[in-house]
C-alpha cells in the first residue's frame, strides 16, 4: 500500500543561488565584494508520515511552505536535507496547465500532458475521447491552444489533470476559473478521482473544501508543522490563530 514518510526534511534557498546572475555582475562582484550569502529557510525539520487511506489537507498562510513541501514530495526540488520515502505512484496536479504549449492544438496538448504525467500511449488513446467530451471543447480541439479563451484553457487543463488516477494524488488550489456550470461538473469529477486515490494531499485556502474531503489536517507556518490532527479541531485553532 502507498505511504509517504518524511524525516527531518529541511529545505533552504541560498540567496546567492536564487539571484538570476549574469556574467557581467559576477565580474563586478569580484571588485565590490558584496556578501549576500544568507539563506531563506523554506522548510525546517518536517517530520511526518502519511499512511495509506489518509486524505490530508495542508493549511497555512501564504509563504508557510505548503507548496514547497508538495514540490519536495514530487521530487521537483531534488536538493534538500533529510529524507523522503515514497511508496506508490505519484502524480502531481501542482498547477493545472503547466505543460501546455500554446502553438499545439488541444488534441496535441492532451497527448503531451498525459505523457508528462506519466501515462502510456495506449492509455492516452483511451482517455482522449473522454477528455474531449468532458471538457466540451470538441468544436475547438484541433485549434491551437493559444486561440482558446482562458476559461476554455482552464477546462481542458483541469480535465486532463483529473483524468489520471494515481495512488497518491496531490492537489494545489485546483478550483479556480471556469464558469459556474463547469465548476459544478468539475467538483463531481474531482470527487471521483479523490475517492479512487489511496492518499490525497490537498493544499487549499478554502477551509470548507478541506473540511469536506480530508480526514487529517496539517497546519504549517514559517516552514514548520505547527499542528496536525483532525480537521475540525485544527481548522478551529487555525481560525482563532491559536498555535
Amino acid at each position: 500500500m502507498a505511504h509517504i514518510k518524511i524525516q527531518n526534511l529541511s529545505l533552504s534557498f541560498k540567496k546567492n543561488i536564487l539571484i538570476r546572475s549574469t556574467l557581467k555582475e559576477s565580474v563586478f562582484r569580484i571588485f565590490t565584494k558584496e556578501n549576500n550569502n544568507y539563506k531563506i529557510k523554506a522548510l525546517q525539520d518536517i517530520n511526518t508520515q502519511i499512511n495509506s487511506g489518509e486524505k490530508v489537507g495542508i493549511i497555512g498562510s501564504n509563504g508557510a511552505g505548503k507548496s514547497t513541501l508538495l514540490k519536495a514530495i514530487c521530487n521537483i526540488y531534488e536538493y534538500y536535507d533529510g529524507d523522503i520515502q515514497i511508496v506508490g505512484d505519484i502524480a502531481p496536479l501542482l498547477e493545472i496547465g503547466a505543460g501546455f504549449v500554446p502553438d499545439l492544438t488541444g488534441r496535441e496538448n492532451i497527448k503531451l500532458n498525459c505523457a508528462i504525467l506519466g501515462l502510456k500511449k495506449k492509455a492516452i488513446e483511451q482517455l482522449e475521447g473522454e477528455i474531449i467530451s468532458f471538457s466540451g471543447l470538441s468544436d475547438f480541439i484541433d485549434e491551437p491552444v493559444k486561440t482558446y479563451s482562458s476559461g476554455m484553457y482552464m477546462r481542458l487543463a483541469f480535465t486532463i489533470a483529473s483524468s489520471i488516477s494515481p495512488e497518491i494524488l496531490i492537489l494545489d488550489e485546483v478550483f479556480a476559473g471556469g464558469d459556474k456550470e463547469f465548476i459544478e461538473k468539475a467538483r463531481n469529477r474531482i470527487e471521483k478521482v479523490i475517492n479512487k486515490a489511496n492518499i490525497l494531499i490537498l493544499v487549499s485556502h478554502d477551509l470548507s473544501l478541506i473540511n469536506q474531503y480530508c480526514t487529517r489536517v496539517i497546519w504549517m507556518d514559517k516552514g514548520r508543522i505547527v499542528a496536525d490532527g483532525l480537521p475540525n479541531i485544527i481548522i478551529d485553532r487555525y481560525m482563532n490563530n491559536d498555535i
Partner: protein
C-alpha cells in the same frame, strides 16, 4: 550567398554551391543544437517548476530536432546536387557516421550551453556571436588550403568544426572517404565533449530548478 561568394572567390557557382552547403549542413547541426539549448530551460520554466521531469530531456530534444533538421537539409542538398549535375557517388554511404559523430559532439556542448545560460543569463546574448566567430574560423566558406599563414592554419587544424566539416565535405563534395585521422579526431572530440558535458551537467542539474 552562393552567388556572391562564388564570384568573390572566383569559383563556378554550381561547384561552390555544393561546397558551401556540404559545410553548412555540418555547421548548422552544431550551431542549432547549441543556440536553441541555450534558451530551452527558460522557455520551459512552467514545465520544470511544476512537474518533475529529468532535466537532461530538454537539451536532448533540442539536439534530436536539430539532427532531424539537418538530415532534411541534406536531402534537399542531394536534390540540388542532382539538378546541378554534381557527381553523386557511393562515398555518401559513410555520411551516417559523420552525422553520428557530430551529433554526439553537439550534445555535449549543448548540455553545457543549456546549463551555463541558467547560471549566467547574459550568455544567451553572447553565444550567437561566439557561434558566428566560430563560423568564420572554420573552413566553411573557403577551403582550408587558402591559408598560408601558420597561425590561421593552426586555428583551422585544432578547430573541431573543421574536422567535422571535412567528414561531411569529403563524401559529399570531393567524393572521397575522409582520412582515418579525421575520423579519429572527430571521435576523440565527440567523446571528450559528451563526457565533460554529462559530468558537469549531472553535477549541477539539481540547481537548475532554483535558477530558472
Amino acid at each position: 550567398m552562393t552567388i556572391v561568394f562564388s564570384s568573390i572567390f572566383g569559383q563556378d557557382p554550381k561547384v561552390f554551391a555544393v561546397f558551401l552547403f556540404s559545410g553548412m549542413t555540418a555547421f548548422n547541426l552544431f550551431s542549432a543544437s547549441i543556440l536553441i539549448s541555450s534558451t530551452t530551460f527558460m522557455e520551459h520554466e512552467g514545465l520544470i517548476t511544476k512537474v518533475y521531469i529529468p532535466k537532461i530531456i530538454l537539451p536532448l530534444t533540442v539536439c534530436f530536432s536539430a539532427l532531424l533538421d539537418s538530415i532534411l537539409v541534406f536531402i534537399a542538398l542531394l536534390i540540388i546536387m542532382f539538378i546541378l549535375g554534381s557527381p553523386v557517388t557511393m562515398t555518401l554511404l559513410v555520411l551516417p557516421l559523420s552525422f553520428l559523430l557530430l551529433f554526439i559532439f553537439s550534445i555535449g556542448l549543448a548540455l553545457l550551453s543549456a546549463l551555463a545560460t541558467i547560471f549566467y543569463r547574459d550568455l544567451q546574448q553572447i553565444i550567437p556571436y561566439g557561434l558566428q566567430a566560430l563560423f568564420f574560423l572554420s573552413p566553411i566558406l573557403y577551403p582550408k588550403k587558402n591559408f598560408s599563414d601558420p597561425l590561421m592554419s593552426f586555428i583551422m587544424d585544432i578547430n573541431p568544426i573543421s574536422v567535422y566539416v571535412d567528414l561531411f565535405r569529403g563524401p559529399i563534395f570531393e567524393s572521397r572517404i575522409p582520412d582515418l585521422s579525421s575520423y579519429t579526431l572527430g571521435l576523440a572530440y565527440a567523446i571528450i565533449s559528451i563526457t565533460v558535458g554529462t559530468i558537469i551537467f549531472s553535477k549541477f542539474k539539481h540547481l537548475i530548478i532554483y535558477k530558472v
